[in-house]
């Protein structure tokens, strides 16, 4: 028999999408670092080329100051680094859009490995014990701690230790000839004579690297964990927002559908599809129909307001919106009901771009134009204008020649469910929520709303949008 178990609610339901490894950077960041690492390497290559030029052009000058720069090795190292860099870049471009983190991590690991080899060669030529060159390994230790999980960064640190100790050991036993840039100062000879200081020197350097690895990897793991928590929380918020949006749609649908059905069937009766009806019945049905439509509109606006209230400012995705085009769309959508009352809607729209939530801006403008139509007298005119003022802010004006708003009511028109007696009498379909919605959206978009009205003459709503580039809420 088919069955279903309701899953228990989980507070931390994120399983990830499989493309990022636990303790690793996100794949996009890893890929970015592939290219960043390569760019950094071009600088090292340039530095080596400069060294080569100096070593080849003025050896006597440096020797006179106790520095022995031998030529060729900087050039060879630069060539090797250049070739590997090109390969890493090519590979980086190939894996650029890969959703898998492994290729990017492998690329970075190989970059680290080849760098460590070349670095060891450079350290050998510069001076493995007599200079601070071995501390360049620290750069790789730190970078490995940032790029990789602690296990891999430890491996990079241990490889650094191994390469350095091997280099020094081979030099000490004369397998590879050691000279270094300070050959004239005879630091090396001192280390050659006594084994213990040399061992102490090498071990202390490696101990520093291990301590740095421990501290940086610990910090890096903490930062990464925090970053992961933030990403998880963000994903959870997005999912909750989507669920809420779908819930709102469902609720709207479920609440409005019965009224739509009642309205449809009342229309059948009123329009004689089911036979003749008496005048009394027709009037009663008309009242039922009007209340039905009003309740349906009220449900929609209550849900809209609830949705706006439950969306914290700044949490809803904003975009660049061509306000003039949006106003035109709104005006078009009200042209038919306006024409039915003989009302003309005139548009004077200059191109204007604002930043906001398209659906909310649409709702705000639609409410204002809807009011202008609803409270205009038959045969009236409505002007909708959009232009930029001197300060760069966009000003939208919606002007009608309607019944106007009494002065005593002006401070309260944005209150929920408030309607002046005159407005309620003139427009029985009014819900008292439209301007409350306008207020909410205007405040969340930092839009200044100015209202002018004179009873019997008309109303002007002016919306001043903040200039582009102003900090969002």
């Amino acid at each position: 028999m088919p069955s279903f178990d309701l899953p228990l609610a989980r507070l931390t339901p994120l399983d990830g999408n499989g493309k990022n490894a636990v303790g690793s950077l996100p794949v996009e960041v890893l890929t970015d670092n592939v290219f960043w690492f390569c760019r950094l390497r071009w600088m090292v290559i340039a530095l080596l080329c400069v060294t080569e030029v100096l070593a080849a052009s003025a050896p006597a000058f440096f020797a006179s100051h106790g520095i022995y720069l031998s030529p060729r090795w900087p050039l060879i190292c630069a060539l090797v680094l250049s070739m590997t860099n090109v390969l890493f870049l090519l590979h980086g471009h190939r894996i650029k859009r890969s959703p898998d983190f492994k290729p990017a991590r492998m690329n970075l690991l190989l970059q680290s490995a080849s760098d460590l080899l070349v670095l060891t060669a450079v350290i050998h030529f510069v001076g493995s014990v007599e200079t601070f060159a071995p501390f360049a390994y620290l750069f790789h230790v730190v970078l490995a701690c940032i790029f990789f999980p602690s296990g891999l960064s430890l491996a990079v640190t241990l490889v650094s230790c191994l390469l350095y100790s091997t280099c020094v050991t081979l030099e000490h036993f004369g397998v590879i000839r050691s000279r270094g840039i300070f050959a004239g100062i005879a630091v090396r000879e001192g280390f050659q004579a006594e084994m213990v200081p040399l061992i102490l020197h090498v071990v202390s350097a490696m101990a520093v690297w291990m301590v740095v690895w421990y501290l940086v990897s610990h910090l890096s793991a903490a930062v990464r964990r925090r970053d992961q928590e933030l990403t998880d929380a963000n994903e959870r918020l997005i999912r909750i927002e989507n669920e809420k949006a779908m819930h709102m749609l469902r609720t709207t649908h479920e609440l409005k559908a019965p009224f739509a059905a009642i309205h449809s069937n009342v229309q059948l009766l009123r329009r004689g599809y089911c036979g003749e009806i008496s005048r009394d019945v027709a009037e009663t049905l008309e009242r039922i129909d009007a209340r039905c439509l009003k309740l349906s509109a009220q449900i929609t606006e209550m849900l809209q307001l609830a949705d706006l209230r439950s969306s914290p400012p700044g949490k809803t995705q904003r975009e660049d919106v061509r306000l003039d085009q949006l106003i035109h769309t709104v005006a078009e959508s009200f042209r038919a009901p306006a024409s039915a009352k003989g009302i003309e809607i005139q548009e004077h729209l200059s191109p204007a771009m604002v930043r906001g939530v398209m659906g909310h801006l649409y709702m705000m403008l639609a409410n204002l134009v809807s009011n202008a139509v609803a409270y205009s007298r038959d045969g009236g005119r409505i002007w909708v204008t959009c232009k930029q003022d001197n300060s760069g802010s966009t000003v939208v004006t919606i002007k009608d020649e309607g019944i106007g708003i009494p002065e005593r009511s002006l401070p309260r028109i944005f209150d929920e469910y408030y309607r002046s007696s005159e407005a309620a009498e003139y427009n029985k379909m009014s819900t008292g929520l439209g301007l409350a919605i306008v207020k909410h959206i205007a405040q969340s978009h930092k839009v200044a709303v100015h209202v002018e009205s004179e009873e019997g003459k008309g109303t002007i709503f002016q919306l001043a949008f903040p200039p582009p580039g102003e900090k969002e809420v």
């Binding site: 949006a245 779908m246 709102m248 749609l249 469902r250 709207t252 649908h253 409005k256 559908a257 009224f259 739509a260 059905a261 009642i262 309205h263 449809s264 069937n265 229309q267 059948l268 329009r271 599809y273 039905c292 439509l293 349906s296 929609t300 849900l303 809209q304 949705d307 769309t329 078009e332 959508s333 939530v357 398209m358 659906g359 909310h360 649409y362 709702m363 639609a366 409410n367």
Partner: protein, 142 residues
């Protein structure tokens, strides 16, 4: 006689709509299960499809059906009128900007509660335009 298929799970509404459209000279069929709609459309394509969006088992089944219809060669030109109780002004809804062929391949959109005079006019127009263009619109324009 222009043939109209209404796909909507609300029988109180569909019965009223059927009566109104029939009186306006249309041959009307009603389906309350969206799952059966594709088979019905392929077996006997109408001149116009009036389609609800939200169905009990799937909140966007109407959209899915509209997109599926456009993929079928034999139905790609069928005019579709979306008819739903979700408000056009609702920020999450399917307002005029959403009658965008890249987003939803439909020819028209109406919101419930609907005035039957408006519904009759729209259905009549869609059936006529559909016949002129050879059962709907060229696929390339969708």
């Amino acid at each position: 006689m222009p043939r109209v298929l209404i796909v909507d799970d609300d029988t109180d509404f569909t019965e009223a709509a059927r009566r109104v459209l029939q009186s306006d000279g249309h041959d009307v069929r009603v389906l309350t299960f969206v799952e059966k709609a594709m088979d019905a459309l392929q077996a006997d394509p109408p001149d116009c499809l009036v389609l609800d969006v939200m169905f009990p088992e799937d909140a966007t089944a109407g959209f899915d059906l509209a997109r599926e219809v456009r993929k079928r060669d034999e139905l790609s030109r069928l005019p579709i009128l979306i008819l739903t109780a979700v408000n056009t002004r609702f920020p999450l809804g399917f307002g005029p900007k959403d009658i965008d062929n890249h987003w939803l391949p439909v020819q028209d959109f109406l919101e419930k509660p609907v005035d039957f005079d408006v519904l009759k006019e729209r259905v009549r127009r869609l059936c006529e335009e559909g016949k002129k263009a050879g059962r709907g619109y060229p696929r390339e324009s969708l």
